[in-house]
Symmetry: C2
Subunit: 400 residues, 2 copies
């Protein structure tokens, strides 16, 4: 596997474009289009929030059919909590763009991100569709990644190349999301492209497994969005022999898509709103997988833990307190805690460690915290970031 | 019922004192003693965190016997996560103070609050016990409330007087807690005194009911402490005929203790770390009590909701998104949201309301948000505060 340039248009047959239609007051690009010149096998996973954007609802309905050829994305407006108009608007926009692309309307997906509760400016968007379509190009992967941003401070994309029985196959992704990030798909849009020829069943399994292990294991603030969508389109342009489940080729593909999703989920945390540090919480020795995940997620969402790390303060007691209050049935007198590789709590009691040594660890950009429950063989890990005054600033001033 | 002065020493027969033994670097008082000149019927409720302070463990064991005569409290050190020494230290300190007071050691309770993971300075504390005991006085209720503070910016106490069959009965309380506050008793210490003569069973029922409705319905940051303790001591000095369950007298007593606990829980929120606003989240029309509580708590703990209110921004979409992601099975197209008395979302869609009107509501010190699920008859309410840059500052710099 080799990392290559080009973002979502690195795989063959994919074009992207963007334009500014005025949803964002700043005048930055806020409308993006990703398009495959041939229909794709398509898989999506979406927010589990009971309140869903009309764009998500339409996207879920269409992708369930199994095929798709593109997705239009607007940033700056969530198309959510405005009533029946949401789905109608999404249908109207996708219909218009698919007509211009001369494809069936059901093959066009839609995603939205931004403020909740405001109607989409449909006429504005429609009046920009012709320039959006005209912008489509195989060199616009990065432009696409930029146009889907909201509070993100950097665009996030990656592409890799693998070899399937002598054929070059490419997999790429672009994501946005910096706040409202919580396991189970929080305000995050993620678009993946591949020119692999792959069975839908195999693509489904590989995609779900890699998403579970990446985007569902990160948290910025424990809030889950109404709009999360992750979509993968596979157009078969690589011309490889079809990848099927449980084969060597599948393993190669799975490994690559896992790398792509993991790297992008990592970029989301690095760009977490106001974040200055990347934190890996590992819980091991748990009696069940559920306990491991529950404790890791609880610690990763603790405001006291996250502000402590923002302050560079190795106050491990907050980790212990958070683990103890996760709701999971753990035995505190078995619990060990490590900062990096340094044991700071053993069997529920503090270990005498030089404070300078710990302060050194907390000055690093990446911090690993391990909780060993010593009660079983299950483990889990969650990535999160620190919680700074800047986070509050960003979110207190988001709308205005 | 009438509010009276004097805090926890307003009820007859209670004395309090405080001193500074050097746990707090600032030199502020950090050791407090509450004492009844006669043994009391005693009830306590404690943190459900699996990681518990040794002080809590000892307190739980002793209060389970049903009687108590006082409590010694240290602030600045949680006496937690230091191993077996925790309970030993708490036993040693309570033994020494009970000897000086000439009471049985099992009648002395202990509570601690502060940093986790550091041994209590037992010798320092013991060397201050004589001045602590000498300080005991019926006029030191407020001094007691001050000595138990950590990051609190104000002391919190209240006392009331009721009439039980012609006899004056007093109920009072002092609490501390400003961060790590979450439903189910988070870093909060609460001490209640009453001179009522009351059956243990009746006291237990009244106390638990009032705590459930007050301290278990507030949240500052969703983190739950290792040290939460709420204790009530009833010494019978009022000389009223014994209050029994399900009587008129019980109803009068219950009403008063509910008032006292509710007012004090309110003071905790008003003093929430960095808080500038008091927020009441009401969820009504829920199919079950559990759903009402789950949705209200989820909204009250949402960083996005709390930072939005800090910013004075009436972005009701975040309330809808938070309700939808609470995990409760709700129907978004039935959901209405009110800011104060103004309907902002009806049946899942935004209502056209003047932004100036909403901005006005968000400028107030107290904000009421109501979510009507219109699916049943159950309701719940949770109190919380906004989430400001100051919260992050306080918690990033707590130890250092």
């Amino acid at each position: 596997m080799k990392i290559i340039k080009g973002g979502v248009t690195a795989p063959k047959g994919f074009l992207a474009g963007s334009t500014s239609c005025g949803i964002k007051k700043s005048g930055k690009t806020d409308l993006a289009l990703l398009f495959s010149t041939a229909p794709c096998v398509a898989i999506g996973t979406f927010t589990t929030n009971k309140v869903k954007s009309g764009s998500v609802v339409l996207c879920m309905q269409r992708i369930a059919k199994g095929f798709s050829q593109g997705v239009i994305v607007n940033s700056g407006n969530a198309n959510c909590c405005v009533g029946k108009k949401e789905i109608k608007d999404a249908m109207e926009i996708t219909e218009e763009v698919s007509a211009r692309l001369d494809i069936k309307k059901n093959l066009m997906l839609m995603a939205s991100t931004g403020i909740i509760g405001r109607s989409l400016p449909v006429e504005k968007i429609k009046s920009c569709l012709s320039s959006l379509v005209n912008d489509l190009s195989i060199s616009n992967g990065t432009k696409f990644a930029k146009a889907i941003m909201t509070t993100d401070t950097m665009h996030k994309e990656i592409a890799v190349k693998i070899n399937i029985k002598g054929r070059e196959v490419r997999i790429a992704g672009a994501v946005k999301g910096a706040g409202m990030i919580c396991p189970n798909m929080a305000t995050m849009l993620a678009f993946f492209t591949t020119d692999a020829t792959i069975e839908r069943k195999a693509l489904n399994q590989a995609f779900k497994e890699s998403i579970y292990d990446s985007f569902n294991k990160i948290t910025v603030d424990g809030d889950m969005s109404t709009n999360d969508s992750a979509v993968i389109l596979a157009n078969g342009y690589a011309g490889n022999s079809v990848i099927k489940n449980n084969t060597k080729d599948y393993a190669i593909f799975l490994n690559a898509i896992k790398f792509v999703t993991k790297e992008l989920s990592r970029k989301i945390i690095l760009d977490g709103e106001g974040a200055t540090r990347f934190i890996e919480i590992i819980v091991k020795g748990a009696k069940t997988e559920n306990i491991a995940g529950c404790v890791a997620t609880h610690i990763a969402n603790s405001s006291l833990v996250k502000t402590m790390i923002a302050g560079g303060d190795p106050n491990w007691g907050r980790i212990a307190a958070s683990a103890g209050s996760s709701g999971a049935n753990i035995n505190p007198v078995c619990m060990d805690i490590y900062f990096g590789s340094i044991l700071v709590m053993k069997n529920g009691a503090g270990v005498n460690v030089s404070r300078d040594l710990l302060l050194g660890i907390f000055k690093k950009k990446e911090i690993k915290i391990t909780v060993d429950l010593k009660s079983g063989k299950y483990s889990d890990r969650v990535w999160t970031c620190d919680f700074t005054e800047e986070y509050v600033k960003i979110n207190a001033e988001y709308e205005t």
